[in-house]
Amino acid sequence: MDSVQSPEPGASSPRPTAPIPVKIVIAGGFGVGKTTTVGAISEIEPLTTEAEMTEVSVGIDEPAHPGKTTTTVAMDFGCVTIDAGLKLYLFGTPGQARFEFMWDDLSNGALGAVVVVDSARLDDCYPVIDYFEHAGLPFVVAVNAFDGRLTHDLDAVRWALAVRDEVPVLAFDARERTSVRDMLLVLLEYALNRTTQQQATASTPH
């Protein structure tokens, strides 16, 4: 495999080996605090990668531009070194349905996802919640409590978004490193429980 590194004759210092990457998807509408969330915990300043999306126009046909338009979507991301061999990447993605083309790539191999919501504007995140449900990706709903206040209480958010009882719905402060860390720990403990339960079910004799 390409990843096998052959020792270099005469190399003065050992070359750093590449860590194994793991990732968590941070989804949500515009302005809910995805980049703030990534930036609060990332050991690098959040970076932006741009992906090109081709939209097939629906509705009115425009003869000058038949069928397709191309838009660029910015994705902010950061990373956290977990230990010498493991690096966690956090990728932010918009949560509206027209960004669905990105979610397959992002979800594939992810440990889980966070849906960041502003309790005053819940509409933006229905599509991505639906998507994670169908993809079987463990996710939490994290309500960004900007100034320590929530517009709705968490039960009302859970009810409005119609998420299952087992899905954690919690409040956090996207600006606070420890608050973001604790929110990610809730996600990972939920993912761990799910995977151990699934494995227990799979190994139960019928």
């Binding site: 750093p16 590449a18 860590p19 977990i82 493991l86 992810a110 440990l111 761990l192 151990t196």
Partner: protein
């Protein structure tokens, strides 16, 4: 394009490119930039952000540079996200953050 190359896939420059490969200085500037960024292992997403180039374009160029022997692309170094040991490792790492 290699579908195994993801945003988080790690890439590192080979210490010595194969003798068949033309010298790095003769490559187009964006390819030289990619090779330079990969002196230490980095993700494809970081390469895309730092050159900068769109992710789709970066993925193609990284694949080309792998094929011509300048880069190692660590597509097989992946963790199973359903492995409890992996999740526990990440939990322990995050708990250590103050």
């Amino acid at each position: 394009m290699d579908p195994d190359i993801s945003l988080e896939t790690q890439v590192s420059a080979r210490p010595v490119p194969p003798p068949t490969a033309p010298p790095v200085e003769t490559l187009p500037p964006e390819l030289q930039a990619i090779i330079e960024i990969c002196a230490e292992p980095v993700s494809v997403a970081e390469i895309s952000a730092r050159v900068p180039l769109h992710f789709g374009v970066t993925r193609i160029l990284v694949g080309d540079l792998r094929a011509s022997g300048y880069l190692d692309v660590h597509t097989s170094d992946v963790a199973n996200p359903h492995d409890p040991a992996t999740i526990l490792r990440v939990i322990r790492g995050l708990r250590a953050i103050a």
